[in-house]
Each structure stands twice: as C-alpha cells, then as structure tokens.
Subunit: 387 residues, 2 copies
Amino acid sequence: MSFDAGRAVFRAHEGGKLVVRSRMPLTDRESLSLAYTPGVAEVCSAIAEDETLARTYTWRSRLVAVVSDGTAVLGLGNIGPAAALPVMEGKAALFSEFAGLNAVPIVLDTTDVDEIVATVERIAPSFGGINLEDISAPRCFEVEARLRERLPIPVFHDDQHGTAIVVLAALRNAATVTGRTLGDLRVVVSGAGAAGVACTKILLAAGIGDIAVCDSKGIVHGGRAGLTSVKAELAAATNHSGLTGSLADAMRGADVFLGVSAGFVDEDVVRTMADQAIVFALANPDPEVDPEVAHRHAAVVATGRSDYPNQINNVLAFPGVFAGAFDAGARSITENMKLAAATAISEVVSGALAPDYIVPTPFDPRVGPAVSAAVAEQARRDGVARA
Amino acid sequence: MSFDAGRAVFRAHEGGKLVVRSRMPLTDRESLSLAYTPGVAEVCSAIAEDETLARTYTWRSRLVAVVSDGTAVLGLGNIGPAAALPVMEGKAALFSEFAGLNAVPIVLDTTDVDEIVATVERIAPSFGGINLEDISAPRCFEVEARLRERLPIPVFHDDQHGTAIVVLAALRNAATVTGRTLGDLRVVVSGAGAAGVACTKILLAAGIGDIAVCDSKGIVHGGRAGLTSVKAELAAATNHSGLTGSLADAMRGADVFLGVSAGFVDEDVVRTMADQAIVFALANPDPEVDPEVAHRHAAVVATGRSDYPNQINNVLAFPGVFAGAFDAGARSITENMKLAAATAISEVVSGALAPDYIVPTPFDPRVGPAVSAAVAEQARRDGVARA
C-alpha cells in the first residue's frame, strides 16, 4: 500500500469507526423520564416477570457481539486484542451497513479456551447473538462447540461458516455454469484450518462425496501419524478413495481446487486438473493460484479479492444469517440454516450465470433480504424459532 | 404511573433504546477497503507495534462499558441481568446525549465477585472505561476496588461516586446559601450502602469533620457488634463524638440530614434538627422526608425527584467525569478528580444561588463541559493523565 493510501486508511480510522447513539433525543424531563427513571422501572419489572419481553423492549434481540481473542487476525496472525479491534469495529460496521443490525466488538484479554467460553457465557445476557471472529484453529472449534451447547442464542464462527456458505453458493453456480452438479465434482481443499474444516463439512452436507483435504503435510488420511482430533474426523469423513501424498498428487484430475491456506500452487500442478476445472483461490492478498495462471487451465476462477470477478466475500452471508436468525428469534444456527443461506446467495444470480459471475457482488442489495428470509424460514422448519 | 403513561413507556422501549452505526457509509469498494480489508490491516499492524495508537485509531478511548449484574436496580432490587438491561441502555443513552461518548451495556450472568472481576478484566481491552452500575453492597466495594487495582483505565461505580459528587456539590452550595462553610456542618447520613459509604467518604475528604452514619440498626459506632468490614471502617472514620442509639438520636441538633436509604423519617424527628437545617432526602420515588414537611423545618431541601427544585441527579456528574478522564487519557479516576467534579458542578450556579437553586438542572448545558475540563485538569495534576 502506498504512503498516501496508508494515510487515507489512518485518517479513516481516527476516533474509531463506530458510534452508539440514543434512538430518541433526551433533551427534556419528559423524554428522560420515559427512557430512564422513573419510567424505565415499569419495563424492568415487566421483564423481571417475563423474560421473553426482553426480546421486544431491549436492544439485545438485534445485537451481535463480535468476539475475538486476536489470535488469527486477517493474514497477520496473533496480534492480540487491541490490534484486532479495528477489524472487529469494521465487522460491526458491516453488520450495521449491510443488515441494519447493531454489533459491538468484544476483544478478549485471554486466549484460554475455558476462559473465553466462561467470559462469553457471562456477558451473553447483553446480546442476541455471538459472532466469533479471528480465533485461531483448533481452539476456535472447541470455543464454538461449547458456546453453541450452552447459550440459547445464535453462535456463529464467521471464519468457518461465513466462508463455507459463500463457497458453497459459488461452487453450486460454478458447477451449473460448467454443466455439472455438485455431486459430479471431485474437490481438493487446501487448508485444514477454520475455513478448510467448515468448507469441507458444508460441501459434504451439500452432497459432494469426493473430497480430499490437504494441509502443510499433504493429503489428510487416516493412516497419517499425529492427526489432531479435528483432522482425524476430517480423515474419516473424506478421501474415500484413500489418496496419500502431496497436494500435487491430490490435484491430478481433480475438478475443483479450493484454496483456504495461503499456500502457493505451481502452474504445473494446476494444469494436471480435469477439463472444465474450477479454481477457488481464496487466500488474501495473494491467491494460492495466480488468477492469470488459473484462467489458462480452469473454466471458472474465484478469489477473495475485490479487484477480480467472482469475489468470495463473507459479507454476502453473515449479515443476512444473523438478520434471519433474529427475525425468527432463533435459538441457534443449524446446519440447514447455513445450507439455506448458501442456496439463497446462489439463487440471487442464477438467472444471469456466467463463468465470471457465479456470486453476487458484495453490494448487491438483493442478497441480504434473500439470505435473511431463507434463514428465518429454515429456522422455523428446524424448530429453533421463537418468533 | 397511569395506564397511558405506562403505554408510552413501553412504546418508547420497543426495539431498545440504542443503535450502533458506522461513522462512514460503506457503500462501495473504496470505502469498504478503507474501513475493512485490505486497508484495516495497516492499522492493526501499527497498533500491534505500538498499542498506544489504539487510543487514536479505535473507538475504545471514548467508549464506556456500563456493567451491571442486576442485583440492585433502581428501587427494584435483584431483578437479574435481562431485566436490568433497560436501565443500562438508558444509562448508555445518557452518556451519548450528555457527553457525546459511546457506551455499551454489559449485563452479567453472574453475581460472584471473583467472576465479575475476571469477566470485566477479560473484556476490558474492548473499552476505554468501566462504569459499574446497580451492583449491590457490599460486593460493589470489592468489585470496584479490585478492578481499579488491576485495570489501566477509569473504573467508576456511579451509584457510589456519581451520587457522592453531586451531593457534595449541592451541600457546598447549601452551606453557602445559609451562611456557613462545609466545616461548620454536623451531618447525619442515613444509609450505609453504596451511596451512603461514598457520600460519607467524599464529605470527609471535603473537610466535614462531624458525620454520623446510620443504617437500619441505628448509629454506626465502633462498639456495635457484628459490623461488616465496610461499616467498621465507617465507624472508625466517623462519629468522633461517640454517638449511639437511633437515627432520631443522631438527628437531634444536626445541621444536615442526607437520606440515601429509602427509610422514612417522621416530622417529629425532623423538627429536632438545628436552625437553618439542610435536608437532602434522596430516596426515589419516595423521599425519606416528605418535601412539604421538610420545608417546614429546613432552610434548604433537595430530593432525587425531577418534579421538585434541587434535584440531586447523577447525570450532572458521570458524563463529564468520563469525558474529562478520556480527554486526559486518565489511567484512573482519583479522589481529587471526584472533588474537582463536585467543585465544578457547584460553581456553575454559584453566581445565582438560592435555597431552591443549589445545583444546576440536569439539562444545564454548562455542566458537562465544566465537569470534564475540571476532571481532565485534575487528572494531569494528579499524574494519571496520558494526554
């Protein structure tokens, strides 16, 4: 980034990116006595009698906590809570701008799983949902699983599920545009962190049977020594043809390359993929496969970058996912709700598909309403809705 | 409250009272790349190198957490976190409306002192200051003391210090308007909870030597069995003339009655006070001494109610206290800063004093700037300022 651009970025951050304001002006005794004492006591008493009234008479039912411990921030890694705060402010701003929700960054002075879980549990009555963000793998899996189990509100690790939802939406359309269905595809996932694990799970749930996951040591398979419990689970659920070896071995003849790793893949490897190959190289700012190179060998190419077509951007998912969950008063976000979100995103552009238009752009105004409606409807079908 | 007023209160609370918004619209790729990826990474990296930059480039340096466990809410008592939320939203709205600060309610699903302290410590990197609210005594004293010791940001229990600051401001002017100084006054404090303890301490610090504190068992003195550690401390610091007996015994000949208890004081007791008596009956909605009765026997009367003159309202203090602390980048709020806040409040009206005008009204626009300037200046004098 140039010096000038850097200055614009710092100027844009002066004083922070968020404001909290009162929804009504408190400029006279009457308004003060409605919003605060003595009037507020009536509302408090009513909620004390019937806690479900908090849904109507407090802001929490449309309030997201954006929670991070600062251990896996963008490509920067473990930079701690203070340095992570600008990202969480940005995320909260996106919740507001893209879905009209309220969101507050909560950055944590601990990286201990037990302490993160206990802290979020204790502040949970303040919020309607928990968006976990930039917590490193494999701790993120346990933090999310335990909070999902304990809290009666949506808990959603966006680095996992936001990415997975948009990848599935894009991959369904990429299959269609190349004359195939999801079930036809043999997929290689490069990366077994938060995004890789979640993408693999959602692709399996969507009916893709043949997936090989690779990490820095090559293909994940049951015979490999020293697998973590997460990777052992991946090995059991994927790679039914029993591939072993390197990423290059996995990619030979594969239909889809899904990069969520920041690794680099050589052109000689990309050229060994099947005809009509699909390359999703999502590492930012440097895609695993250079888009120019990918286009020489693939029918469809997507990246995480805003300066190329087919940007896989989580903002297509998370605002609508939370808005839909809140609209339905959902107690949790089910796997079906994630699948419904992906379908809704893909259907927004299904009438206009082209190899360079498999997902809507981040600013497509149809996306948020479509996702939230689909998620809310699925919440009701899944029996997790309270409204 | 009438049915109609009740309906207006509930209508005013629909959807909650606060919103979080982005300070800049995120409507195109350029704004998104400044506020979020990829631009934000530069700001994160800069803060990771030098955490003091978080003061300039995040919102936290002007962000207050309004923290409560819901155990001592208004006159309602222990109603829990969900039912306490409307009060905390109102408080956050006041921070915004009266000082332009950002504030977020954090209600806690625990009433355990260790857990409250640990939770607030862990979320503290998200905030610039901690306003403790409606936490019952005596736990509130320990929570505040431990957080003050551990956190490098202002921690302020408003039920204690907000009340104490405004009481001192009003009492100084009440003394002046009746031709006395603070040092001339013999004071009876009725109530040894959060407000009573803090008022006693600030009045002692301001030079009032003769104070007797009463709780539900009568006058607090060193010879009484079963004193808590907080009351033993009060007994040692007050009541130098060794009074024993009831509140009525204490009030005989007293110059000042300060009620922060919700008890009721009979006219026969009020009439035993000294000439030119000062009655601050702050219980809400029912003052300890009926204002009509008080006026028959006292030269100056103040209450907590907005429908009488001389309202002792914390909103005169807390917005300016935090604004001043933030302006100075204060690491803590010292005793001197509280005294400076009280002096600033009293000086706003010192040119126009009258028995029914010893404090500014809550909407006096001079108060916030005067308090914040005095608090910031004192922070610099006390060596706790970073700016």
